[in-house]
């Protein structure tokens, strides 16, 4: 394996550096281990011109060194936040795979499905697949994974499976029945991951998260707590073997550090570079990939309380906010302005949307100066700039705005407890590219936000869900979006975030708009 040209040190300099390190470390050896994990400089990647599809065509080789923005909070897909999917997604597979358009395909662990009646789904399980501990992946295992999402009290997606009545294995099929018809059940299975029932049962969530086991192209190797996680190619993988032999995940909270690790040759891929660091990376000759994502930053207007209990005031707020200007001025175009709530992917547009018009906004306020609070969480990229610019636009139209920054958990808590007035900014993050994810999540009276007191939104959401197929449901979702965003003016969708990935000498890395990387086809050099 060739050494990284950029990481090559002259012998004398290296010797000096090591000598200095030794001098520094007198008496240190007993205090900590230095069991190098290959995550630092001098790793094993090779370099070549970036680009290409990363077709494998040979035995897996090389160690891909990946820097994440934070350590994965957990590796159990039932209870853990999705940041862990960067890691567990290499080992665990969803029951239903998706294609490039994020639509379910029959090429994953579930190879077919049918709907014999409106409340029954039959799923066919791929034969001859095993977990890496030898447990078979069969209908019972698939049923177990679904049931964990339905029944586990800490299940992070439990609310989306509330309509499921029963799940059972029947030969090579899984039969799922629902209380009411549910058109998006297969879509939801794209975010249900296969788990080995015996191992998961023995280990529980805590044990599983220390050494996850799945059916995927990579298998667990080791974790150096707080430092790195390593996975290696699964030699018995049922699908196409991956292009790299190992992946080492490390993390750096500071964006500048993530860039430095890439620049110094200590990492091959660095995720989540903010616009400033992405530009620096591009200027330094590194490969920067911009991925428009489905993360939708939205202004929620609390329509059951003054002053937003007046639809004209809500509409004035919508008209006042120029989302294109936000995208251009704050993100230099590295985001996608959006006017709809239920267009799930960044390249989709709603059937109808509000066109910003400051003069019309002023006219609707008729000389009044409603006082509002604009609350935003300190969580998303450049969100403070966005909040300040939004406040400026609202004030230009005649609003008096008080800006309040809170941390994410506090904001969600206030929203859930209905302790929030005015307008708040929140990022809507879908697990699946189905409109019901946001309709149920943010539009119905039982949703977390429930900011729009229009019962017709509940009716439309339920009506869409009981349709026989996606084609029949789509017009209803269009109507729902128009009603909630354009007519009720309860939402001010702003933009879809763009995600920047820096890399060097890496080919074939794919990243879904749903914030899921795919390392399967990555090759080095």
């Amino acid at each position: 394996m060739k050494a990284h040209p950029g990481a090559v040190l002259s012998r004398s300099r290296k010797a000096l550096a090591i000598a200095a390190a030794l001098a520094l470390s007198v008496g240190v050896a007993a205090c900590g281990s230095s069991d190098g994990d290959g995550a630092g400089s001098g790793g094993s990647s090779t370099t070549a011109a970036a680009g290409g599809d990363g077709a494998t065509g040979g035995a897996p080789s090389g160690n891909l060194r990946v820097v994440l923005a934070a350590p994965p909070s957990g590796l159990d897909p039932i209870v853990s936040a999705r940041d862990g999917q960067y890691v567990w997604g290499t080992m665990l597979e969803p029951l239903v795979s998706v294609d490039d358009a994020e639509q379910p395909t029959r090429e994953g662990l579930i190879t077919d499905w049918s709907r014999p009646n409106p409340t029954t789904w039959e799923l066919t399980v791929r034969p001859d697949v095993s977990f890496t501990n030898g447990e078979p992946f069969d209908a019972a295992a698939a049923a177990f994974a679904i049931r964990e999402n339905v029944e586990n009290p800490a299940g992070i997606l439990k609310s989306y499976f509330a309509n499921v009545r029963s799940v059972r294995a029947d030969g090579d099929r899984v039969v799922v029945t629902t209380r009411r018809p549910q058109v998006n059940l297969v879509d939801l299975l794209t975010t249900v991951f296969a788990l080995p029932p015996r191992y998961y049962g023995e280990q529980g969530s805590e044990g599983f998260t220390k050494a996850p086991i799945g059916t995927g192209p990579f298998t667990w190797t080791r974790e150096l707590p707080g430092r790195s996680i390593q996975v290696s190619a699964n030699p018995d993988y049922w699908g196409e073997e991956p292009g790299v032999r190992e992946i080492t995940f490390t993390w750096a909270t500071d964006a500048q550090q993530r860039l430095s690790l890439l620049q110094s040759g200590a990492a091959d891929v660095s995720f989540d570079l903010p616009p400033t660091q992405a530009k620096s990376a591009a200027d330094a000759g590194l490969d920067v990939t911009e991925i428009p994502t489905a993360v939708k930053i939205t202004g929620f207007l609390q329509a059951d309380r003054a002053p937003f209990d007046d639809v004209n005031v809500r509409r004035a707020a919508q008209l006042a906010i120029d989302r294109d200007a936000l995208v251009e001025s704050i993100f230099q175009g590295r985001a996608t302005a959006t006017g709809g709530m239920l267009n799930m992917l960044p390249d989709q547009q709603p059937a109808e949307q509000v066109t910003p018009n400051a003069d019309e906004a002023k006219a609707l306020l008729r000389g009044q100066s409603p006082s509002i609070e604009l609350t935003y969480p300190t969580k998303y990229t450049n969100i403070q700039d966005v909040a300040e610019a939004t406040a400026g636009m609202l004030e230009e139209a005649g609003f008096r705005v008080r800006l309040t920054a809170v941390d994410y958990g506090t904001l969600v808590g206030r929203v859930v407890r209905r302790q929030i007035d005015g307008m708040y900014l929140l990022g809507a993050v879908p697990n699946v590219a189905h409109p019901d994810f946001f309709a149920h999540g943010f539009m119905t009276s039982t949703s977390i936000t429930a900011n729009c007191p229009d019962r017709e939104l509940d009716v439309l959401t339920e009506r869409a869900l009981v349709q026989p197929d996606a084609e029949a449901a789509q017009p209803i979702y269009d109507e729902l979006n128009t009603r909630a965003v354009v007519e009720d003016a309860c939402y001010a969708p702003l933009y879809n975030q763009t995600f920047n990935i820096g890399s060097k000498g890496v080919r074939g890395l794919q990243y879904s708009p749903l914030n899921v990387p795919d390392f399967d086809r990555v090759t080095l050099g």
Binding site: G40, G74, D76, V79, G226, L261, S264, A266, D407, G413
Partner: protein
């Protein structure tokens, strides 16, 4: 000797326990004042019953006084609870990070002593010369330069531009150099200034003049007589700086992505993992208080006038 020493020791231990109790109370209060962690854990899509169940599971539905008493009891028994973020015991998380923090801390302190003491000594011996002014300037810079800025500059120069050293994260010994240099700067400055002051004071003592009169060389006078007498305050400040560094290396660990206790604390705060944040504070507070106590007791053993 023994009764006055025992009384002094008892007073100091009592004060240390009160300090610890205040630190524990502050950690508890800050953890609970900063909001409800349940929404961060379950996310925005959780059902009401899930939220209620988790609050009950964490004991957050109980009166605050009851929570406080439970917390103190658990802490006394050494039970630091489980992380809300990592689904692991906090003791396990802390013990996995502590060696990294200690490694960095020892390297920084050793570096600070190896440079700070000679620098301060040189400044005292050459008092009023440009050596003295240069040493004072270095010490002043060490106290003035923000560590995060210094860290970024060192990364930029030695990792990104020259590619001599890794830009961060832990690994081999070469990973230690830049963080240790950055972390050592402040204690180095303290030690250099204090060494200079102590040494200057000692060098003005009559017995130093007597030694000179007997024809002893400056090196011998400084090395054998002056430095030994000037060392006590230096040892004190070194021990105190060790405590400060153990609990205050957050900025350095953050800049270098060093997987120590500081980074762990930062992750806990960012996620609102209040049990983990409390556990880190407890460990830091205990370490600091114990170090202070040891210094106090050691000092009085060495200098009985302080009893």
């Amino acid at each position: 000797m023994s009764s006055s020493l025992a009384s002094f020791g008892a007073r100091k231990i009592g004060a240390a326990l009160v300090t610890l109790l205040l630190a524990l109370t502050a950690a508890f209060a800050l953890g609970h004042l900063s909001g409800d962690p349940v929404y961060n854990i379950l996310g925005p899509l959780a059902q009401r019953e899930q939220i209620d169940a988790m609050r009950a599971d964490l004991g957050l539905d109980k009166p605050i006084a009851e929570q406080y008493v439970t917390y103190l009891g658990d802490t006394v028994r050494g039970e630091l609870g489980d992380s809300l973020q990592y689904f692991r015991s906090n003791s396990e998380l802390i013990s996995s990070r502590l060696p990294q923090s200690l490694q960095l801390l020892v390297a920084a302190i050793v570096l600070a002593i190896l440079i700070g003491v000679p620098l301060g000594t040189l400044a005292a011996v050459k008092e009023g010369t440009w050596w003295d002014r240069a040493a004072s300037t270095v010490a002043l810079l060490g106290q003035s330069v923000p560590v995060f800025w210094l860290g970024l500059m060192l990364i930029l120069i030695f990792a990104v531009q020259l590619r001599l050293l890794p830009s961060g994260q832990s690994g081999g010994l070469d990973h230690l150099i830049l963080p240790a240099i950055t972390l050592s700067l402040l204690p180095l400055a303290h030690i250099a200034r204090l060494t200079r002051a102590s040494m200057a004071e000692v060098l003005a003592e009559p017995y130093i003049d007597a030694a000179r009169a007997r024809g002893l060389s400056t090196r011998r006078i400084v090395g054998l007589h002056a430095l030994r007498n000037a060392a006590l305050p230096v040892l004190t400040v070194t021990a105190l700086q060790t405590g400060v560094l153990l609990s205050g290396a957050v900025a350095v660990e953050y800049v270098y992505s060093w997987p120590g206790l500081g980074t762990l604390a930062l992750e806990a705060v960012q996620f609102r993992d209040y049990t983990l944040a409390q556990a880190v504070v407890i460990v830091g507070a205990v370490a600091f208080v114990v170090l202070n106590l040891l210094v106090d007791l050691l000092y009085v053993v060495v200098d009985p006038r302080l009893r």
